[in-house]
Symmetry: C2
Amino acid sequence: MKLFIKNGTFITMNGNETIKDGYMVVENEFIQYIGKEKPVENDYDQIIDGSNRIYMPGLVNTHNHAAMSLLRGYADDLALQIWLEDYMWPMEAKFTSEEVRWGTFLSILEMIKGGTTCFVDMYDHMDVVAQAVETSGMRACLTRGMIGFGGKEVQDAKLNEAKTFAKNWHGKANGRITTMMSPHAPYTCPPEFIDKIVQAASELQLPIHTHMSETRHEVLENEKQYGFRPVAHLQKLGVFDQSCLVAHAVHLTDEEIGILKEHSVHISHNPGSNLKLASGIARLPELMKEGILVSLGTDSAASNNNLDMFEEVRLAALIHKGNTFDPTAIPAVDALRLGTIDGARSIWLNDVGMLKEGMKADFISVNSNQAHLLPKSDVISHIVYSASASDVVDVWVDGKQLVKNKELLTLDEERIKYEFNACFERLTT
Amino acid sequence: MKLFIKNGTFITMNGNETIKDGYMVVENEFIQYIGKEKPVENDYDQIIDGSNRIYMPGLVNTHNHAAMSLLRGYADDLALQIWLEDYMWPMEAKFTSEEVRWGTFLSILEMIKGGTTCFVDMYDHMDVVAQAVETSGMRACLTRGMIGFGGKEVQDAKLNEAKTFAKNWHGKANGRITTMMSPHAPYTCPPEFIDKIVQAASELQLPIHTHMSETRHEVLENEKQYGFRPVAHLQKLGVFDQSCLVAHAVHLTDEEIGILKEHSVHISHNPGSNLKLASGIARLPELMKEGILVSLGTDSAASNNNLDMFEEVRLAALIHKGNTFDPTAIPAVDALRLGTIDGARSIWLNDVGMLKEGMKADFISVNSNQAHLLPKSDVISHIVYSASASDVVDVWVDGKQLVKNKELLTLDEERIKYEFNACFERLTT
């Protein structure tokens, strides 16, 4: 299969490069050519006129709990601990694999159509999640989130489940699925359980993904319970000796930033969720200045409440300017990097996130002939400051087209909505 | 003309009322009935099945400079004074009435299709702006913004132009257009010029609209130049003795909040623009606690960079939570009120902004059968935390349908884009 796109505008994320009236050739799953010069070959299976389209790498969402779309709008405007313990957990306790299946499918539907080509998911019933990803054609890094309440036997069962899942699915779906090991958070996992998970991750040679330092409350409680703030606590438990992606990291001291840098810990910044749950505003400018690898996540639809990665990119570009009185904090192209190439690198993928020869063809097109994306001035600015998920027209992952003219090709959208609504009815009656 | 909508979900903005499977009757420009009970009459000119639609009041954008859409993406990530003086003003100096016409039309196109039914515009060549509003069918409160540089003669000419415009257009287009008088800002208008504008507003019995206390720099310079911060300065000049809408009001002391309250000054909060220009985060929770009438504005597309009022509503709901660590700050329904009914009240319109019998029929429909707006739980939450301009399907203003199934009925979209792009080419070559 050989695809030729002509006359397109390409945001490559190779530095701040933008190619206007350019050309791209995709052969099977790889980008074979991209550039300003028209390639000489003309033996293509498909030719697309890319006029009025901006092509860019698919967005990478590095923190989500996809099934929780079932709880979108169920409880808002509450503090994280109350929201989690009094609202989310009791409802989630009712989730069977059916709820996880259709909740995840609905999120996948929203994400793909909105230009997200790859996501991180931490949840349970992960076989169902992996099957949904496989069917959809998306790319994902999946992990069974382990909450350590309920004693040693429950913990052991969860750990075995997490290990089995991680082994079974790592590298599957033509390499589109990778896996991680996940203690849910220092406040939900006793140290000895985290210790075991770290050992398992080391044996399996898999990265660790966890929540960390999301709220002030969490940091204070950690100090009270264990004598250390979360960063030092996890460091002592060897979490950072593994490859590690932490979500949130809102409340960090300079010293903690130093520790995270030293251990090459990756951070998934979740600005929308952090604002909505009033967790605070992460120190993104400082983290980036230190060269820490930061990416963006929506968190679940229960705390965001959409899965629009354009919005997370925009929030990352906007809130740190307003919060620091520095209009040069997080320039547009840097924010877009967090949502694309740095998202891919955050989950140790080196062959997606950029439009470049030899990279896998995970990319999207945006309709640029709309009022809010005119005039044809700075397209990176338009994507960051003005575009949204609904501007996405076409989506390819691994060289395969998943969305064509806003229609999802791999899944039955009406069936997903029907089953999802039925799950919600069951949960709430 | 009598329109009947059945089986719709209605967010009325009458308190936090939501009517599911409800009915609305619109006769000419007025809402004749809205409720849960099916009305007995059945002699309608048009019947719409509102299943899978959320109906709500059109959004009211209380601060904009519509023609500046021509400068979208022209200069980003710069401080307000540099952005304004080195980039915006030199480009705006090239604007003729043609640039104002097509820049304004493009903004109107974006706003109407995105569910904004009424906007405030402060600019020049205002006859052209008013004509565009009249043709489009939108509602607007328009004002010739006066920058006082250039000496007394220039000031007098501007003031005369502003007065003539305000008199000619106030109440026109079936009452859809109202007018105000606008000194641009305390930092661009000498006190004696502001004084004259206040006198004119008093004579014409029109409100005053101005920028105020947008940046720390502005506040400090005002103190240095005039011995007072902007609030006291404008108070002394009698600005607050008129009905008054100030844009921004980011940097306020408790005492200043007291002065604004005492004078019933209305505030247009512009969260997106304030973040992007790094002006800071306004004290919205305190302003609302004091009962000051606050509404929302996008500011121009040069500093936002879109005119999506759903995004301003969402930012108002989100950033103050994150900034104050209080998840109950600005609940969803309060944020939506700022963007609808309080927007209308902010510009002294008492017959729009709410779906209620006797109110004018300025309303929109949103397609609720989309992944990011499911499940059918809390629709106000979905509108505030998940919806965007692109979810709008139909728009009515004054009982007249302006957008039908995402197509604008009153203007030629392709012609507008063509002329707009031509203006941009002329400006930049």
